[in-house]
């Protein structure tokens, strides 16, 4: 790093470049945003911009936005988007909003990277800490990731969740646990699943407390911050109640995620399974899927207690695979965090396979979807097969990263084993 000024200039350049690229895409290809909005890989029933438009229309005409069973997103989006000029007549304002949100996420990511939490946490310092990328590079990787750009152009509302999650992590690292909890509450309010990130985030903020007013007991710290989350969430819920005038939004937003009542295909693994499921076993397997999703939190927190940021990263990867309504937006969030572990990349064993599988699924997914829905020459199994491959690639990446991080940790304990081949038994 050569001086603050140069870095600042580069950062500004990067952000301006990213914003210009997005604006250019928006304006040069006016049909592109709507095309991407309609893609199942980008828009899920709980994040779709099209459905947001429907909810907004109903809301502006004084009808409950949840009537008709199309809109499944948080009610607070509605006043926010009704403040903007209509996206059909002045789309530029919506575009600007999404670009700003993306830049804010990149900013938070840059802060996370620059803090060096990934290589040396409070309880563990990696021997390979010298080999890492600067925040600028990581922000650039995020901003110019095609998945991120596609999500931004598709105006999926999951970018708000991404932004809130990244800010929660950044605040926790910078020693502002209360702000971190507030950001996490927002993320949970928007998408519900970030609530599962609470335990590792608590550990992270506990480890990074400012030296001035350190709280000794983890239990007291936990209780205090859980009450913060509860307080913020209940405030958000009561605001939503005031806006929509009923508690109807609870079953329509979180209920849909819990019961998977909308079976629109997506890149996840749930929809096909529950299309086929016997009705009498449906509720049982919904519970199994949710328990499976949440069972990783405890184990990972215990196992990698020394590096809570790793736990957060791995959980984001797991959610991108096993969430009820995943999209490539979740993938882009996970891919935003992975470059923080540049120092363990040499320890990963399947980099090529993972890259190949993810690319394969990325290109064949839309093709198979087309074959199924438009050409009619394939069936649902085509698309489901490719989402399985996608899930396989992602889980391989999560496993590989876990392996690399643990091996890195292990080599501190056993310096004589560095560089030696090991075998999994």
């Amino acid at each position: 790093m050569n001086g603050g000024k140069v870095t600042l200039g580069r950062t500004a350049g990067l952000y301006i470049g990213a914003a210009v690229l997005r604006l250019a895409l928006f304006t040069v290809f006016p049909g592109l945003p709507d095309l991407l909005t309609g893609r199942v890989e980008i828009s899920t029933p709980v994040t779709s911009f099209k459905r947001l438009q429907e909810g907004l229309f109903l809301y502006n005409h004084n009808v409950s936005p949840y009537d008709g069973g199309v809109y499944h997103q948080a009610p607070l989006f509605l006043p926010l988007f009704s403040l903007l000029p209509s996206s059909s007549s002045f789309p530029i304002f919506t575009y600007l909003l999404y670009i700003v949100v993306d830049l804010l996420s990149a900013n938070a990511l840059q802060k996370i990277a620059d803090s060096g939490e990934a290589v040396s946490s409070a309880l563990f310092t990696s021997p390979r800490r010298e080999k890492r990328w600067s925040g600028l590079v990581i922000a650039a990787v995020y901003l110019f990731n095609p998945f991120t750009i596609a999500t931004c152009l598709g105006r999926s509302t999951s970018v708000f969740t991404t932004c809130a999650v990244l800010h929660a992590i950044a605040k926790a690292i910078s020693g502002a646990p209360i702000s971190a909890m507030i950001a996490l509450s927002f993320a949970s309010y928007l998408s519900m699943y970030p609530l599962l990130l609470l335990p590792p985030l608590l550990l992270l903020s506990y480890d990074r407390q400012p030296a001035l007013h350190t709280q000794k007991s983890l239990l007291a710290f936990t209780l205090k911050h859980i009450s913060v989350v509860t307080g913020v969430l209940s405030t958000l819920f009561s605001m939503s109640y005031l806006i929509t005038g009923s508690w109807e939004f609870l079953p329509s937003t979180y209920g849909v995620q819990l019961t998977l009542s909308d079976l629109t295909p997506n890149v996840g693994l749930w929809w096909y399974f529950f299309v086929e499921m016997f009705d009498s076993f449906r509720s049982f397997f919904l519970a199994v899927f949710w328990l499976h999703l949440s069972s990783y939190v405890g184990g990972l927190c215990v196992r990698i207690r020394t590096q809570p940021l790793v736990v957060l990263t791995l959980l984001l990867g797991i959610f991108a695979i096993f969430k009820p309504y995943p999209s490539i937006a979740d993938m882009s969030l996970f891919l935003a965090m992975v470059p923080l572990y540049r120092h363990v990349f040499p320890l990963m064993r399947y980099t090529f396979v993972v890259a190949a599988v993810v690319m394969y699924a990325t290109f064949l997914g839309p093709a198979f979807y087309h074959l199924w829905i438009y050409a009619g020459s394939g069936n649902a199994n085509f698309f489901y097969a490719i989402t399985l491959v996608w899930g396989l690639g992602l889980s391989l990446m999560v496993c590989d990263l876990t392996f690399a991080v643990l091996r890195d940790e292990w080599e501190v304990e056993r310096p004589e084993m560095v560089g030696k081949e090991i075998r999994q038994i």
């Binding site: 076993f281 990783y296 215990v302 899930g391």
Partner: protein
């Protein structure tokens, strides 16, 4: 997908075990106690979720709710043990010209004669003497008694049934009145015979109904000849299934462009309404009418023979909806055309000739077609022209509803209500029996509480119907019972899981839970093994220390 799941679990756990496993070959440094504890914690964290959340949820979501059904009572109903269908019919006798004593005596003898004649215990005729001089109040008596016998002195024994009321006039020569002491009397036997023949059809129908269900054998009548049973079966198949409401559709079809209007409303009011009104206690009717121009029948020939009749109705093109609002539809079609029905001369026997006159025929369980020849230039069909078609429709409606054919109209209708209540009672009972057998045969079928409610309601109404058989309430209760029984039997959530054997559960659980379960169980087993080994070593160490 499940495999990828286990992958990540496996890695977390097996990587945690590297220390122990890898060093086993090369005599590595012993595992640190902190690592051991951490591994146990990881395994416990997974098992806690399985045990504390997984198991209760599994129990909660997959237990089959089986409401308790009174199976024995239900089977009792189905097999006729719970109810003996008995129709006590009260017949009042008006004998104003006889002395009280004589009348009583005649009554006693007639009752004896009736009991001797009666071979079917379900059908009781009970005579009672109505107080003399109350003829003007006969309306009141009619409510409770099925038939009134009026004894009138005359020259010779003769009987006549009033066509429009349920009164049987019997004339007797005064000298035939039995004396106080006589033990038999020709007049009594005569009256008994007349009564029996009046109710013969009803008795036959009810005994036929009983014989077709699984009601116990002892109540089955012996007097039913195979021919009689066959003709009854024919009539039963011809009549519509009972429904509290029927929808009557009157359609005028014409091959050309006229006539284009008809006075159907006035005609229905004049010729059919009276019959519909007297049917009100048993059925409700809704009516609609339509005219269709340029409607061609499926059969074009001038003279229709017997085979043509069944295909005459052009079901593909004529707008005849099968049912409106859930009520079954009865179709009455007047077709304007000069086609005629050619009846073979030999076909005049009762079974077919009675159905088809030269202009109309009855379609079983469906309705009636009437061929109405009109002059070419008729544009409007008047009430008068419609008289004959509507009278035909009315009589066909009665037989479509299953009304008995003999006797006066009030008598036929009261018989109809008794037959219908018996029919519904039997059907509801047999549905209950089927439900009971179903729940016994399939122990894994779920029985929602709504089914138990329906069964309880059915049985309550069946009991009421059985106790009041022969009265109008019986029909109401039997109707409710039948509806509730059908609803309980065809409960949606029950039918879905009609066949789901235990082997299927393995196929449901194993593909997902198997791969997830293997690492969980293996991790737990390994951990337990390691823990036992450590304990044994600790014990041995302790012993060795003591020994030294």
């Amino acid at each position: 997908m499940a495999e990828t799941t286990t992958d990540s679990v496996l890695v977390t756990e097996s990587v945690a075990k590297y220390d122990g496993a890898e060093t086993a070959r090369k005599q590595p440094p012993p595992e640190k106690p902190a690592d051991v504890r951490r591994r146990s914690l990881v395994i416990v964290s997974f098992w806690l979720i399985v045990l504390c959340l997984g198991l209760p949820i599994w129990w909660q979501t997959t237990t089959i709710y089986r409401a308790k059904l009174p199976l024995d009572d239900m089977l009792d109903w189905a097999e006729g043990r719970a109810c003996r269908p008995v129709f006590p019919l009260r017949i009042s006798v008006e004998a104003n010209d006889l002395q009280q004593q004589e009348a009583q005596n005649l009554l006693r003898l007639t009752q004896h004669a009736l009991d001797d004649l009666n071979d079917f215990s379900g059908h009781h005729l009970r005579l009672q003497l109505s107080p003399p001089g109350r003829q003007n109040e006969s309306a009141e008596i009619e409510d409770t008694s099925a038939l009134t016998i009026r004894l009138l002195p005359g020259d010779s024994p003769a009987s006549a049934l009033h066509p429009y009321s349920s009164i049987l006039d019997i004339t007797y020569p005064p000298n035939s009145v039995p004396t106080q002491t006589s033990s038999s009397s020709a007049l009594a036997t005569y009256i008994a015979g007349q009564l029996r023949s009046t109710f013969a059809e009803e008795q036959a129908i009810i005994s036929y109904l009983l014989s077709t269900t699984s009601f116990s054998n002892e109540q089955r009548p012996q007097g039913l000849t195979p021919e009689a049973a066959e003709s009854l079966a024919k009539r039963t198949t011809r009549s519509l299934k009972y429904s509290p409401t029927y929808h009557l559709t009157f359609s005028l079809f014409t091959g050309g462009h006229q006539p284009s209007s008809w006075d159907i409303e006035a005609a229905v009011d004049e010729f059919m309404r009276p019959v519909l009104d007297v049917l009100t206690p048993i059925h409700n009717f809704t009516i609609d009418t339509q005219i269709q121009l340029y409607a061609a029948p499926s059969v074009q020939s001038q003279v229709l023979n017997k085979e043509d009749l069944s295909s005459f109705v052009n079901a593909a093109e004529w707008p005849l909806s099968p049912s409106i609002g859930g009520a079954p539809t009865v179709n009455f079609i007047a077709y304007i055309g000069n086609q005629t029905i050619g009846l073979p001369p030999t076909d005049q026997d009762a079974s077919d000739g009675a159905l088809a006159t030269s202009q109309s025929w009855l379609v079983p369980q469906w309705g009636t077609v009437y061929l109405l020849p009109l002059p070419e230039d008729t544009t409007h069909v008047s009430v008068l022209t419609l008289k004959q078609p509507l009278l035909t429709f009315t009589s066909h409606l009665l037989s479509l509803l299953g009304t008995p054919q003999s006797g006066s109209l009030p008598l036929r209708l009261s018989t109809l209500s008794r037959i219908r209540s018996a029919d519904l009672l039997l059907r509801a009972s047999s549905t209950l029996g089927s439900l009971a057998r179903l729940s016994l045969a399939l122990p894994s079928i779920s029985i929602p509480s709504s089914v138990a409610d329906g069964v309880a309601k059915t049985m309550a109404h069946l009991r009421l119907a059985c106790d009041t058989l022969g009265t109008p309430e019986a029909l109401y209760h039997a109707r409710v019972a039948e509806q509730e029984a059908e609803r309980a039997f065809f409960e949606k959530s029950m039918v879905g899981q009609l066949y789901f054997p235990d082997e299927h559960k393995i196929a449901v659980y194993l593909p997902l839970l198997g791969p997830v379960g293997v690492p969980l169980v293996m991790g737990l087993l390994n951990e337990l093994k390691a823990w036992r080994k450590r304990r044994r070593e600790a014990l041995e160490k302790g012993k060795a220390k003591k020994d030294t």
